[in-house]
């Protein structure tokens, strides 16, 4: 197994820690997919795992799914450039978020809403996003640990879906 090379790791870290829009897809025993938004993420130093924070009020279907089928897809999309990466792998741990992980969530929410404000969106929407940020900051969260097996480019266009790295390659 080859590790993710340093330039790609730096790129993924810059991308994931830059307050992108983030999604987590999972599925139940009957292959019915569920999707939820991720409200904080941090790539481990060695690039083998990423920690994902999910707001408890919206995360129940995902938590139920990953306890039965740990395979997930995590997607992060830059709000302005639409540069997108997808990481696929398995959830190896899911617990209540620690104080440090809750702090990661709060930093992400603040940066994300600030990034949204730079886009040409209706002022009422931005005001409501700020209200949601405050509600989510106050909400409890789960922290999931995703072991990365594959990395894909998913930037919109004909090359979306191109595999950049695989654990077994």
């Amino acid at each position: 197994m080859l590790p993710i090379d340093a330039p790609m790791l730096d790129e993924l870290r810059r991308h994931i820690h830059g307050a992108p829009s983030m999604l987590l897809a999972s599925s139940n025993d009957e292959r019915r997919p569920a999707i939820t938004r991720v409200v904080g993420a941090m790539l481990d130093d060695d690039g083998t795992h990423v920690r994902l924070m999910l707001a408890k009020p919206v995360a129940s279907p995902t938590i139920d799914n990953v306890r039965r089928n740990p395979r997930v897809a995590f997607t992060a999309c830059h709000l302005v450039t639409f540069e997108t990466y997808q990481l696929k792998g398995v959830i190896v741990a899911s617990d209540d978020a620690s104080p440090a992980e809750l702090a990661i969530k709060d930093i992400f929410l603040t940066k994300f809403v600030a990034a949204m404000a730079s886009k040409n969106l209706p002022p009422t929407y931005l005001a409501n996003m700020t209200r949601l940020r405050d509600a989510l900051s106050a909400a409890p969260a789960y922290a999931l640990r995703l072991e990365i097996h594959e990395v894909f480019s998913q930037t919109p266009g004909p090359n979306a879906g191109c595999r950049l790295w695989a654990k077994e390659s």
Partner: protein, 135 residues
């Protein structure tokens, strides 16, 4: 079968990109963004098919998908459980989606990237209002 509530219509205008989750038959999920979730009638939506990507391949294997759409004013999010019914390459739904996609592409600077191949029509099986979560 579920019915789309009237108040969801603003979330289907394409202002805030929607997200979609699908799953292959071997149980591997996929998460991505979609340009359009288009209102067809109270029981159906159509998604834009632009590229032969993993979402399309998964839907060919397993027709079930989960979509999140967001109201561009209230920031209210909605989760839709949907199942693929048919692809339309001509007709009024295709024409309206093509026009709306051009507007979305222009808004996002994606005129050279977005091109509608077909309107994929899905039956809505469940609708849940959710906490509009950033992300």
């Amino acid at each position: 079968m579920a019915r789309l509530p009237t108040e969801i219509r603003a979330a289907l205008e394409g202002v805030i990109p929607a997200s979609i989750g699908t799953c292959s038959l071997d149980g591997t999920p996929n998460a991505t963004y979609v340009s359009q979730v288009f209102y067809v009638d109270p029981e159906h939506v159509a998604l834009s098919f632009q590229f032969f990507n993993k979402t399309v391949r998964n839907i060919e294997e397993n027709p079930r998908a989960c979509v999140i759409v967001t109201d561009p004013i209230s920031a209210q999010a909605w989760t839709l459980e949907i199942e693929f019914e048919r692809a339309e390459e001509t007709g009024p739904v295709f024409d309206q989606m093509e026009m709306q996609l051009e507007a979305i592409a222009s808004m996002q600077g994606m005129q050279d990237v977005f091109k509608l191949r077909a309107a994929h029509v899905y039956r809505v099986t469940e609708v849940r209002p959710g906490m509009g979560a950033p992300g």
